[in-house]
Subunit: 361 residues, 4 copies
């Protein structure tokens, strides 16, 4: 189904940007895990607008309410419903969107598919839909921690436009990333990236970039050999985020420039653990984790909404022009970081439960 | 499930490389479509080893047998089973694989996951598993042609190592691609690519590259808005192919170097059709096709099996060395082309049926 | 997943009896259908407590709120979230349930499965969970009406304990059933049934019975041939309702007393329509509708909660006694009628969409 | 999907009665379990025609071949493909079926659904389809035995027409059932039942009956609380078998004649085990096993194929007559026994793996 992800830790998001609210339903969560509204709120606060002066200044409180599945602070094993009511709606900013298709947005394709669209603020195509994912991932993290303690998922901004951060995925810490509003792990790049974002914003323009993510301490054996390869499920999860245009794992596209002799990861024993000397595989071989760090990158295009008049067509199929209004991120990368982590954690927990089901943990 | 793909046109592949055979079960195929063993065999012949002197010389006949679901030349609407029996097994080439993990292969991870592995020829991790996918895609093509005539899926080798082909995705033809054994659409690159493959093979080495794929004449409206975005499902499908390390659609990673003003695809009317002036979206916006050509690229790493002694570990966890044996592709790209097309067609048919179910065609 | 039903019209219910609320998420609903809060509320009012003096007098307002998926009165094609907040909670009535397992309830099995249970009012095992189903079915009915106008689903009380109603499934009307609070189609049985319910209630006892359901004007061809036979999906749906102990279609268990010669339904032509002279098949042959009325029966056990001291065990595993408290139905049958209809409509809409997907309508 | 059952132990059957063969694909089986062709063949021999002189004398060898997923006698964790080639085809017996719809068979409904049908021997609607189920269940039994030793599933003929067997589900043994060709656990009923079957067969007539099944030593906690209740999944599984018309668990339809006071199962402690004094719940409460014996009954209608001229219609929609030909069971009950067991074991293994996934075992 289009709004459901996962086989055993199954999440279904719902809600339009300017409707009553957005939320998620989580089915299959193990029982007896401690979870609080705060645990979820903390993650939502990392993705919400208005958190710093380089993201959209929209005031979306994004306060979540747990509707079900938790009793006296513990998961029941039944579906966990989470609701975030919409606030701060300024539909007037969006009036033109009713009659004109925003370039490089989903307005036209929604109409082509459904013959109807909630045109206020993008409806379901809004980044607000990711609230449900981030909330669900906060629960997923609890499950992973209980079944397989020690796993760390850390994403960070690897590049914005042509500014590339120098980050060591093996050692970067969560605090290093969170210590700066652009969420890059490279201190030297913080100011240049912030300045770039402010500059393009002042021009009514936008930029994109790349988020890199590392998952550390994943045991060997997670994943599946054919269609549900770990990298395939990660690719799908990442490419399901708004504004993504590419995914690569390990050596990625760059790996095609090497020969096999240069590219292969040689095994060796480190104590009683099988390790690889290099990690061009990105921690996954044949769809299954090999115990090395899982490392992948996701490309985000420049924000489609820009404050410039652009040619487009109307819903009545006439050529026209449209200028972006409202308050938008000139660069989604800082807020994309917790989204990438969330999607990674959702894929991970699903494969953990699948492994427990088929092979035992 | 790990060996199942698709929601409405659902395929399940089965079989190990050196077991009895490999095959596929297709559930959900519409009835009354004409399909013959030849239709399927034709596609299998494009992916099979031994088809030219730049691919592995293994003699795998790969003759398929339709076991069910077809009656007097027409689909019944019931599951279509297809079987290809394994031949030309030389397990002796693989004897060392029993006790040593091949670098950058799935030997170790299978053992870590399952505690057991069909070590002859990679078992389920062998490229032979893709036979079932290609066979199913031949059926998928029939469905697509009947419901939505005119759709063309054409893949071709875009690059091998640093040799890049110059191909126009809007005009390249199937015959142009099939006219050369390397399956690139750029005549100028045929000989250089063939020579490069032969050269690395003679050195016992290997190379990778990029396959580009275009799907033309897809109607606007296919796909889904959230998790099952068309590009997300394509990404998963491609990253589920052996040896893939990256996926990008439209502007891809390169698009992150542009600003929004440069990147946005402006709509305009061409007759009564909504078109975009550029196609950095790659034919998909918000997860749904917009009627432009769908264009994506898939990175294939250099073949892991090389004819050189490499460090590795044994199944009893001791450091050792291993040299590749047997007959392998020094470059999988030419044979990857039909696999990429197959996966694209499988995703497409599923979304076509999903669209028919929810919105009507 | 345990809280999800359907493949294409997919509903997921959530919520505990005395938590924040209960609700449902509907994925896969076609777009452009008119639906209002009132359409859903009307059905909820048929199942809610306090509607007559033979059902539980609990005052559950059960006012629903549409959270998503509907825009300006029309379905968007995106997930439809529906929420009913819980009210009138008197957890004190349930205090003993915390420490003692109610006989023939799910208290013990929930603890055995999950190690935790929302003991107030049965948590997820409460009949309140069916609110989500009934709400979803109101939407399902809209879909069915739009794709296949004329289908009528009518359930009615066939028996209560040994009182059996005489109802002709081919002609009974919705108004006849709704005209009496016991919801039987047999006017002669209304008073006896009401009196029986009041009598057992006055004794602190309870009764069960059988609901019969007819679905008229279903086109031939709906269903599936193997596991998802129409009668199999109906059986699952009905047996997933609380308190059900049996399901039969057409001739049912009684049909085993006939010989094949007596049992077979002979085909004949009625104008250009293929008909059967008898309908022991119950409208389904080989899992697929044959155009005759679909007729099935569902057995509901007597309500487990009775106002009598009964032997049981405590959560600390000691023998003890427990007497029912709170306000409960002495007979669930009148309120089960809309639940049976709801489940039938949910199965029907799913198979309609599946038929549209695979074969076209 | 119509030909797939189960969420974690997922089986897909394929094949038509008179096509190349029938079979099954099993996905999700745990690795490292010993399984042989003989293990599967043994169960197939219990369901095959020609096994005694009261079942159809058709000579179907039904020899199975394991195509994949087993290596050196152990499951690999990859899909297990099993094939049984069709033999002894006498399509000439079926010639009339091409043009006339057999009463109470699926011929007409298949045509109505698909517009095409494999008319030889019923195609997919043939009981041969159950070969795949029985084969898969033999594997399922291995999984159950390894994860939860001691579980016993025993089905037996409870009644044929009005002849009812007196069997104690708590003590009946597999050997008692298998010791007589009619497969009833009541020695006193063996001869009367055999005589009845032979008598109706000699008249060209047929009879049906009821199979009862007990599953012993199931731990408390298996199942799911809402849609996938254990009894709901069992109901679906049983109603998906050919010729079934009804399902009931525990007290079933008869339970509607009792009051709550008579019907409730009182808990008591037996040592440290929670038990119930009676078992009207049939071993399941709120969809979840309570540790008591799971007991259910399935109604099978009299065989539709009888050796008498019957009115029917032709495929060209004209009134006509048809007399059964070929070799058919005058009573399917003896062969239905292993089918019922198989379906029970398939549901059980799926819920076992689901329990392991969500809650641990």
């Amino acid at each position: 189904m289009s709004s459901t992800l996962g086989q055993l830790f199954r999440i279904s998001t719902w809600g339009e940007s300017h409707g009553v609210g957005v939320g998620v339903n989580i089915d299959g969560c193990p029982p007896m895990l401690e979870i609080s509204q705060e645990d979820i709120q903390k993650e939502l606060d990392r993705r919400r607008p208005g958190q710093s002066d380089i993201v959209t200044p929209r005031k979306e409180g994004d306060v979540c309410e747990i509707l079900s599945g938790v009793f006296e602070g513990k998961t029941l094993g039944s579906p966990i419903g989470i609701l975030v009511r919409n606030k701060d709606q300024r539909p007037s900013s969006y009036d033109e969107m009713k009659d004109k298709y925003r370039p490089s947005h989903a307005d036209y394709t929604y109409d082509a598919k459904y013959g109807i669209r909630a045109w206020h603020g993008g409806g379901r195509a809004s980044a607000r839909e990711t609230i449900g994912r981030v909330a669900a991932a906060a629960v997923a993290k609890k499950v992973t921690d209980s079944l397989c303690p020690g796993i760390e998922t850390i994403a960070y901004v690897k590049s914005i436009k042509d500014l590339e951060a120098n980050v060591d995925p093996d050692t970067v810490t969560f605090d290093q990333v969170e210590s700066n509003i652009v969420r890059t792990g490279d201190p030297a790049m913080v100011d240049p990236m912030i300045n770039l974002i402010k500059e393009v914003r002042s021009e009514g323009n936008s930029v994109g970039g790349v988020v890199e993510c590392v998952i550390r301490n994943v045991p060997a054996g997670l994943g599946a050999p054919v269609f549900d390869k770990l990298e395939a499920d990660l690719a799908k999860a990442m490419m399901s985020l708004p504004a993504t245009k590419g995914f690569e794992i390990g050596s990625g596209f760059g790996g095609t420039l090497l020969t096999g002799r240069e590219h292969n990861d040689h095994f060796f024993m480190e104590g009683d653990k099988v390790r690889t000397k290099t990690n061009r595989s990105g921690g996954v071989q044949g769809g299954i984790s090999n115990g090395e760090n899982i490392i992948f990158r996701v490309a985000f295009k420049p924000t489609a909404t820009i404050m410039t008049e652009q040619p487009t067509v109307s819903t009545s199929h006439e050529d026209t022009e449209l200028k972006g209004r409202g308050r938008h991120d000139a660069c989604v990368l800082p807020r994309a970081v917790p989204m990438v982590e969330a999607m990674a954690n959702l894929i991970l927990v699903d494969h953990l439960l699948r492994q427990r089901a088929q092979c035992g943990l």
